[in-house]
Structures are given as C-alpha cells and as structure tokens.
Symmetry: C2
Subunit: 425 residues, 2 copies
C-alpha cells in the first residue's frame, strides 16, 4: 500500500486505524454541565429517572467524566462496514471559488443510512440489545436518524418503531421504504393530529410515550444528548489523523450544520482543546436556535415529557417552517454545544434556504456529490469562510462536515430548480 501524497484529494485510513475509543469532552469544559431537571419536580435527574428509557451503559456515558470511553468490539465490527470515512480536499470547489483557502470535508455520506447518524445508532442498539431490550422507539425528522436506527437495530435483532415528522413523511415517501427494507416500522407524527406538520419535538413526545408504556422497549435519541455527541466524536478523531496525512498542522476553522448538535459535536469536540481552532455552527435562518434563541432550561419535546436541559431554545412549542432540511428543525440544542456558544468558544451563523441550495448545486457540479439539505448549511458556511479568506489573502484551512447525501431529497432539488422554494427565511 502506497502512502497518500499531499497532492492527493482523498485521505483514507485503513480499518486498522479506526479509533478504538470515543473522546469525552466533559473534562475539557470550563465547568461541569448544568444537570438535567426532572420535568415534574424540576429536581436534578439521576440514573434511576432515566432507566425506563435508556440502557444503563448509555446513562453512564451521559454522565461520565472519563476522558476516553472504549468502543466495544461488537460495535467496531459494524462501524467497519463504512468507517473510517474519507477526508476529502475539495480542490475543484477551491478552483471554482478562486480561493486562497484550503477546503477539506469529512465525508459521512458513505454510511449505510447516508449520513453520520449510524455512528450513534449502532452503539445505542448494541448496548440496549446487550441489556436484554427487544424493541427501540425513536423520532426522525429528515429521516436520516430513523434510517440509521432501522439499520442498526437489524444488526442486533431488535425491533424498531420510528415516529417520523409528518411534513417529512409526506415530502419523502421513499424514506419509509428504506427504513422498512431494514425491518423498521414507520408512522407519521404527531400520531393524534393528522393536520399537524409536526416537528422533532412532537415526534420525540410520541416515541417517549411509546417506550414508557412497554417493559421490553427503550427509546433512542439521535442528537442533543451527551452520549450521542460522544459516539459521533469518531468523526473528528479520524479527521485529525487524516489532516496530518494531508500535511496540515491543524484546521483554522471547523464547521458543521447544527440541528440538535450531533454532527457538529462529532466533528468539532476533539478540536476543542486547541484554542487556535475556531469552531462554527451553521443553522437554518428559519430555526435560528443558537443565533436568536435564549439560553435557559427548557423541555426537549413539545409535550414536556423529557427532562429539562439548560440550552439555547426557541421555546419547546416553537413550530419551525417546513423547510427541506428537516433534520435541523429543532427548537433546542445540545447542552454541550449551547454551553460552548454561550461562553464564546463556538460561533454560530444562520443561512437562508435558497442560499443553501445554491451552495449545494455548485458543490454537486464541481465535487460530484449531491448534498443533503442539512449538509448544505456547512457548505454555505465553508464557502463564506473561503471567500473571506480570499478577501484577506489568507491561507485559511477550512474543515467542514459533509454530514449526508441528498439522494433521498431530490424533491427538494426539484423545487429549487423550479424556483419554488417559497419565501421562508
């Protein structure tokens, strides 16, 4: 095997180089996270409060202060189906922009589900199966998380029930088919109001209520929580090895789309200890949690079934417009991400839908990859950073997360090409 040259555009690791432990950001925060509060008593929740919903191992990870947490071999065996994922230098995008910057992206679209989501779905399914659980429930927005959990459940012989945000369920009928191909079952949410377009917050309510009603069933969340971001850090850990192969000391700025925070946290958190690395969250202007929300305790779901968390929120009853980036339509945000933004360690920017699709079409034409609407928020930010670097004649090293492909989002491209994205922000 020949080592890559720095003139290459794709930097691959062998399977022997896949990280064997996740990076826990907890010891690197300025102070411990504020505790989640019980939705009724508003007292800090302990492991027993979470046990009806989550595997004990996941609850332990949620509260762990250990700097590294080993990845079980049975999890690595499945992750190796697509990991390590490539790090790509977007030289053709650089040329199209005429930029002085160097642009890299981590390609998480190569997973079975087409996004970063299986990185957490696989360990969540594994730990639940090992603890005797037979069935998982979850919510899904764009469909990426439900697809990932359906795939992961099939690997460990679990049933999987997916509550899908109704707006996405109707926009993306084929998402249901792919989930069913992996053995999942899919219903639109909210289940009790067919006229309601739904949101991640309402779908979480449905999934949590289902799991609370059955002994053999747990709930799985695809973002927001500490253990989800933990599982996603495999992205950033691989990227660090690959940037070294590319001859880079560090990125100047690390960018990712942000809905609940999992793909952003996954790429960015391993870079947190280096103060020279800027961290940037890219969110939709129509659901501007980090850029226009308030930092306070709020529920994770619409109906107030989940613990309250200290985070940026638009209010747990906020109903975002039905933009195509369904995975970013969430009123709140990861407490870890929220704390970093609140303390000024992480920046945030919001993009309008039309600008996101213009970035996506440019990216597809020059790099040959058709991005998910969510991924376009990262691309739009990367392009803005590159243009800024060019204006200042800087050799800025930009790293963004290409968190998913758009092959199941072609109806959105159809609307965009027809000039029919509407007037939403």
């Amino acid at each position: 095997m020949v080592a890559p040259e720095v003139t290459d555009t794709r930097f691959s690791l062998s399977q022997a180089e896949i990280p064997s432990a996740w990076f826990n950001v907890a010891p690197h925060l300025s102070s411990p996270l504020d505790p989640p509060l019980h939705p009724a008593t508003r007292e800090p929740v302990g492991p027993d409060d979470l046990a009806p919903l989550f595997a004990a191992e996941l609850i332990g990870q949620e509260m762990s202060a250990d700097p590294w947490i080993d990845i079980p071999g049975e999890v690595l065996d499945v992750l190796r189906l697509w990991r390590p994922t490539p790090l790509v230098r977007a030289r053709r995008l650089e040329a199209a922009l005429g930029t002085t910057a160097r642009i890299y992206f981590k390609d998480e679209s190569v997973s079975p589900a087409g996004s970063h989501k299986p990185n957490s779905a696989v360990p969540q399914a594994f730990y639940n199966a090992r603890e005797g659980i037979k069935r998982l429930t979850t919510e899904t927005g764009a469909g990426q998380w439900g697809t990932a959990l359906s795939f992961a459940s099939a690997q460990y012989d679990l049933e999987c029930a997916v509550y899908m945000v109704r707006k996405s369920f109707e926009q993306k009928p084929y998402r249901k088919v792919i989930m069913e191909t992996w053995g999942g079952s899919v219903v639109p949410s909210p289940i009790d109001d067919p006229s309601n377009a739904g949101s991640l917050g309402s779908a979480i309510s449905d999934a949590v209520r289902d799991a609370m009603g059955r002994e053999d069933t747990h709930y799985a969340l695809g973002s927001v929580l500490n253990h989800v971001l933990l599982h996603q850090t495999i992205i950033g850990l691989e990227a660090q090895q690959q940037l070294a192969l590319a001859g880079e000391t560090r990125p100047d700025v690390v960018i990712a789309p942000c809905g609940g925070g999992s793909n952003l946290g996954g790429l960015a958190l391993p870079f947190l200890p280096d103060p020279a690395v800027r961290l940037l969250a890219a969110e939709p202007a129509s659901c501007p949690t980090l850029t226009q929300g308030t930092y306070e305790y709020d529920f994770g779901d619409v109906q107030g079934l989940t613990p309250m968390m200290n985070m940026y929120t638009l209010g747990h009853d906020f109903m975002p417009p039905g933009i195509h980036a369904g995975g970013l339509r969430y009123h709140g945000d990861s407490p870890i991400i929220s704390k970093l933004v609140h303390e000024g360690r992480m920046e945030a920017v919001a993009h309008r839908q039309k600008a996101v699709f213009e970035a996506n079409v440019l990216f597809a034409r020059v790099e040959g990859k058709l991005p998910a609407p969510e991924a376009g928020h990262g691309i739009a930010s990367a392009i803005a950073e590159a243009n800024d670097a060019t204006a200042k004649n800087e050799e800025r090293v930009i790293l963004f997360n290409y968190c998913g492909h758009g092959l199941l989002d072609l109806a959105a491209y159809q609307d965009h090409l027809a000039g029919d994205l509407g007037e939403e922000p």
Copy 2:
C-alpha cells in the same frame, strides 16, 4: 498510513495507485472481432463512417490493437473524485450464508452517479470536448448512464441531451432531477409515441438521430462498444491490486450483471488472460440475451440506424417486460462479451426479478448497502456460487461487481416489500 491487514473487510488504494492506462482486451482474444457492418450497405464500417457520431480518439480506441491505452491526466483528475473505489470482503454476508467461500465485491456505487457508468462518461466527454464538440446526446435506461453523462458533461462545459426509456422515466422521476442538477436535459423516449414504454434500443434511435442532425453534436453510448468496455477496465485493474492486499492469489470466479456488458467487461476482462479464473455473466430472465439469444449480426437499435454487430441478440425489435432493472433491458450485447460466451470462455446465467430482490434485501440487511436492481443480479449469482462452494466444501474466492446503489430505485423496493413485483419472469 498503515497497510491493511488481511483480516480487514475493506481494501483501499491511495490515489497514487489509480491505474494510469486502460487494459485493451483485443490482443487477448482468440481472433479479431468480426467488423461492424454499415446498416445500409452491410459493408464493414471504417473510421469515416463513425465520424459523424464519435470523437476521432474514441474511434481509434474502438479499433485499437494496442495492449494498453494511456488515461489522460485531465480524465484522471475527474476520476480521482471517487477512484480508486473500495474492494470489500462481504464477511457479514458470508456469515449469514454460513459459506466456505470468500466473497468480495468491487464497490462502484461510490461514484457521483452512483454506478460504474462515469468511468466511461468522463473520458467520452473529455475527448469530445477536446475535439471541439459542444453538445452530447445519449440514451438512458435505468437512468444511471444519463446521470453519469450529465455529470461528466458538466466537467467539460458540454451540453447534454438525454433520451430516457419512457418506462424508467415514469418509474423514476427523481432521476430527471439529478440529471438536471448537473445541467442535463431529459426527455422520454420514444419521442414520437407517448404510449410506448420504450427500450434501450428505441432510445438509442432517438439519440443517434439527434446527433446526426447537428454539426456541433456527437452521440455517446454507455455500453456495448469496445471503447466503453475499455474505459471500464479500470475496475478490474484496481481489483487485481486490491485482491493482492487481501492476500488472494486470484479469484476463482468473477461475476457481474450484464445488460450491454460494460460493468461485466470492466471487471472481468483484465482477468481474461488467466485461464484459472472463471468469468460469469448474470442477466435478467425477462431479457435473456446471452442464455437464450442467437449469435448473429444485428442492429444495435430498434430502427436500424446503428452499424450491425455480431453479437448475441433477441432481435433488435425485441421489447422486454418493464422490469425494474432498466439498465439490463437490452436486446443485444457487447460483441466482446458475446464472443467470449460463444467460445465458452465466459458463462452466463439468468435470474428472475423476485429472486434478485430477495438477494438485494439480504445484502442490504447484512452489508448495509442498498443495491440497484441491476446490481442484484450479480449478488444473486454470488450467493448461488457461495452456496455451491459450501455444498462441495470448497474455499472458493468469489468476486462480483457491485455496480450501483438503489437509492433512486426505492419504488422498486416498495413493490417488492408489498409483494407486488408481478408475474414477469
């Protein structure tokens, strides 16, 4: 960079290891191919007869006896966006089958178009652009080739007009969207008969007539011709390097789906000089060109506009049932593939649609990749070979071409899961 271990499941080459020349099978055939005949005079065609349709460089490759043909740097620059593609050992499929065989597949689904097709679309667009052509026309069945040529045309600033088999056009509306995202234009074929489901043969007629009518326009064919198979040999050349990384001396059998023959030829032809390697074509039972056709001169299209070629054919007016594997609905076959089958050097087998989808769902569940209907023909054959090896307690090394993903074919999976594939063979 750490070299792969033979216990790995994915064998990747660095970009520095991408082949720099295509493998020309001509010197390795038992005798020269029979010449194509002019459709009117039935005399052998020369370069001048083909010049209205094809770039001079491609005509030269079509008739070349050179053992190797260099890949231009401008072509490699684009191929490197996704090549080299991975070779994967399907260990989880092996476990599910409980087989004594070792199963490998070459993953061509990672290309921009999601199939092997860009391997030829890119050089065809490049040579035409270099010779001053401004516009390409083509046909597409499942949509894979039209998608590939739209992408490739965008890389060299060519216009691209795609005539899409009407049955596929109606089954797969999002194929049109992805082609348009890359700047292609798409119309259903036959253009003069909206009640006709169409076939590759009829779409070729439409595309050839368009190209013959304009000075600035050439035609591009996605399979069948010698130069197309030549461009695809990059698949088999990479696979040879990767099998060595996996610790294999040679495959015992090389398998690929066969419609016109391009993905089969691409994987199999570099193995032809080794008589210990069996070569196997997998075709649909509803369009059984190699298993039930006759070996004789026939037209490549329905209307008799193309040169006649000596090949297996079901008759140029054969109209196959509207199966989901639209890319395999072709009445004829590559003259190279046909000659190898006729002489007994290559075997052929036909699969029914239902069996193909059962193989695809198994593959998706254990390997995490959702196959195109076309790709399932190779998977079904690989499973049959593995089961045969197990019955004989043989350590057979099986290599098949995973020629494309099925993410734009979910309507077919929907029909399959609903038990609604119909009674076609």
